[in-house]
Symmetry: C2
Subunit: 523 residues, 2 copies
């Protein structure tokens, strides 16, 4: 495995050594990685800025071929990639195989998406020379890439939100070079994928600097990248604290730049009375969404909201039975596991919180086990202290029990911005709770009826991004084809020569894309 | 005239008195205005948040009727509005009549735009229950309004970028209540337009709080509005210093919010050699764009770039003749005039800067006159000091003379982000200068061939917003139908009941809008 920092098509050994940890054993993994220097970061950014001059103008077919090559090269790594990711993340093989499929799937999806080409939002208003009182000039607008993007790998998706994940994929599709700051928990997985991207870039004749990857188990390299004048955009998935530190850093630059930070969410699920009465067992299946992969998903449901009733008591019993029977799971890192234990224990330290169920199936053969836990609290107590609204990243959820509909609504109104908000309901009771369902759309980016928020669809219609503090910018999504919009801005050409316009805007529509021409959609 | 602060449908007298100044006479205007209190600001924001609950869900037809009513009520004010704006801004009647037409024109344009309805970017991926390995859920996404918007009136467009200007119009169209902080230079103009909006809101049965206006000749009210927890978005057109102060304030909130600040631009025009040779007189007509309305436009061309040549000498002479013959004009405020004199004189204090022409037609019958001035500097001197790149707001431009093409390119590469960048060229010489024209699209939001940057078209294809520091966010426009995107974010509904979906997303497309359905545009 090539463990050196990759800067364009060159390697740099780096300095301070570090090792990943196998969370299932607690032992250091032998392979040594070396933190990049700030000079490495500067070199990577210089190459990215040079690459941007040509890559920003590269035709869609070439970019699509590049993305497909990355997907193919990732598959070419074979089992070694899955084994490496298992060792570094503690995630099971089935999950990682699925995640690899999602990663290559979105690379291939984006290839088709940019080949189709309508995503540039071409708008054309043709000239009206004899308009009164003033003539109208020919004006043509489309999206263009903004410049080099710094992508921070996420711990909880070592493939799909990491080196060749959604951020890298959508940035490269837009025409932005990418510099990845690898997550220190899975450097080996990162290195394997980085080699795949390098091969794909070389095979497609792209300029060096279109991709670089730098390692660091501290903050120096990330800070150097975010502060570098050539950096035009930053993406991050992780903690609120980490995300906001980057936002602040980016705002304090001479030229402030956007940071798209997806930071955390407790993803409330409202359980309405009739659904609780009629579908106890189905609702108890939420135990899977709460605990799968140790609950380490940004859309894991950390909050259940319901009105006190006999149906709720039945559900509590069924959920308790399900949770109790679920095995503990290895968490991503010792730090994440320690934090989970600290935060979940902290919740229990409050007298207002009671235990509904805790799994008794601890796997003692492995380290860093997350043990499923469900607690309960009264709505009154929940409303009285914001600490109950904080995310406990891991296999934990809290049931908030309201006395009546008004109190349930008060709880919903008290919530901060979320990635998702769900409601479990019988159809006939939805109208009664319209105030609540309307509110769910106001505080979140995705509203779900009768389903868990986990299992984010990667498509055109998905919105993965909600009001602050769940993300730093609710106007964008980090999943699906909409994610490309984070890396572009509109430019219009006025009275321009047809031959010199981008193909997307030329007369005759040579790329055959959808365009808004004089107010009418046309192809 | 009703001079009190308007908070929803109620009036509040306010405290500290202030008066506008007639810049043409230098005398205070008699009408007294009173600064709103921070309690007034809080009340306005509370009402706006309440109004948002219903106004965000108001149907497009009602919102369109509201916008058309505002336009009609503005016209109903008649000559009194033009006379008030003349007295407060020093702008001539013809310009203000045109600006009123632009203001009512964009209100009516937006009414049609939201009635048509496709702007919500509806995307629908229908369910695929039998997809392997996992079923696909039905997911439907569209843009929804973000919440109350605080709009700062601009000094240089007392109608079109002020109380009922582009920001207010696009925010109301999106479904966001608006709280205007009136510009202290034209409170009377603001008050007349505010009454028009109030009448339109009442006539259309809209909740109070959908619009408020507050006065202040200091910073207290603006700060209270930007910092208020109910504020979700801020728009501003003005100086770099003012814009960035608001951006910083908004970033330091508990919940950071976006500020769309359009801050300044010197709008370079590259004059290519053949055009200089062949079209001397046409290019000298740039004198109008440089000096119209005392050059007080965000797109005023403050920088001309050319290579030394005999053609350039001819152009300089023609431009000098044109500038010399142009009358001085009253500037918007004594402060703006003093700043213009200070900055333009400051430029002349540098030995590297020479005068090409200064108008000798000072109107001594009026105060606060901006006197047209064009200077020249060598490219070498220009490149050596960033101070020459600063905007001189007023009837001023600087010609930068390069020795050769390489030096011209170096000058272009040295420029910061701009709203616009233009090139004057014969068609046959454009290919030779492709590096430069490509660069113009990288540093600006609008690239113009053979035309002045002033006279911004209000339409679908316009982009009025460029890279930092010309605006705080180059991904959005403040002019044209695209301006509505500043006030919205996407929300998706997953597996939702058809009857409870917004009409834009319902089966059967009841609003008959363009939607992306399973990857295909359809209506």
């Amino acid at each position: 495995m090539e463990t050196r920092n990759l800067i364009g098509y060159q390697y740099s050994k780096g300095g301070k050594a570090f090792h990943a940890v196998n969370p299932a054993t607690g032992a250091e993994i032998k392979t040594e990685f070396n933190a990049a220097s700030t000079a490495d970061a500067d070199k990577a950014m210089q190459l990215a800025a040079e690459a941007f001059e040509t890559y920003s103008l590269t035709d869609p077919k070439t970019k699509a071929a590049f993305l497909r090559s990355i997907a193919a090269e990732i598959n070419n790594i074979g089992d070694a990639l899955i084994e490496q990711a298992m060792a570094e993340s503690g995630l099971p093989a089935a999950r990682l195989l699925g995640e690899r499929g999602r990663t290559t799937g979105q690379l291939n999806m984006y290839a088709g998406f940019i080949e189709e080409g309508s995503w540039v939002e071409a708008v054309i208003d043709t000239a009206i020379p004899d308009r009164q009182p003033l003539p109208r000039a020919d004006i043509r607008k489309m999206m263009v890439p903004v410049g080099p993007a710094v992508v921070f790998g996420a711990s909880n998706f070592p493939l799909a939100f990491s080196v060749a994940g959604g951020d890298t994929c959508s940035a490269l599709a837009a025409g932005c070079p990418v510099i990845v700051k690898a997550h220190p928990a899975h450097p080996g997985t990162s290195a394997l994928v980085a080699e795949a991207i390098k091969k794909a870039a070389e095979a497609n004749g792209l300029p060096q600097g279109v991709f670089s990857i730098l390692y660091d188990d501290g903050y120096t390299v990330g800070e150097a990248l975010v502060k570098h004048p050539h950096t035009k955009i930053v993406t991050f998935t992780g903690s609120f604290k980490g995300g906001m530190a980057l936002v602040k850093m980016a705002q304090e630059r001479d030229e402030p730049i956007p940071v798209f930070a997806e930071m955390g969410s407790i993803n409330p699920i409202v359980l309405l009375p009739k659904a609780l009465d009629n579908r106890t067992q189905e609702l108890a299946n939420l135990a899977a969404a709460i605990t799968n992969n140790a609950g380490q998903f940004c859309t894991q449901p950390g909050l259940l909201l319901a009105i006190r009733s006999a149906g709720l008591d039945k559900f509590k019993a069924a959920l308790a039975a399900a949770i109790t029977a679920i095995d503990s799971s290895t968490m991503l890192t010792p730090g994440i596991c320690a934090n989970f234990n600290k935060l979940s224990t902290g919740m229990l330290a409050d007298k207002a919180v009671s235990v509904i169920a805790k799994s008794d199936k601890l796997d003692t053969s492995k380290e860093n086990q997350g043990i499923p836990l469900v607690t309960a609290i009264s709505a009154a107590a929940f409303l009285a202290d914001d600490k109950f609204k904080e995310e406990v990243f891991g296999p934990y959820t809290m049931l908030v029990v309201a006395d009546d509909e008004a109190q349930l609504e008060a709880v919903v109104n008290s919530l901060q911005g979320q990635l998702t908000a769900s409601v479990m309901a019988e159809k006939e009771e939805l109208a009664q709770y319209k105030n609540i369902t309307n509110k769910l759309a106001k505080i979140s980016g995705r509203v779900i009826l009768n389903g868990p928020p986990t299992g984010v669809e990667v498509g055109n219609a998905i919105q993965h991004g909600g009001p602050y503090p769940s993300t730093s910018d609710s106007r964008f999504t980090s999943v699906g084809t909409g994610a490309i919009k984070r890396f572009v801005r509109p430019v219009c050409w006025q009275n321009w020569e047809n031959d010199l316009l981008p193909d997307e805007l030329k007369d005759g529509n040579p790329l055959n894309i959808w365009r808004l021409v004089n107010g009418e959609m046309a192809k």
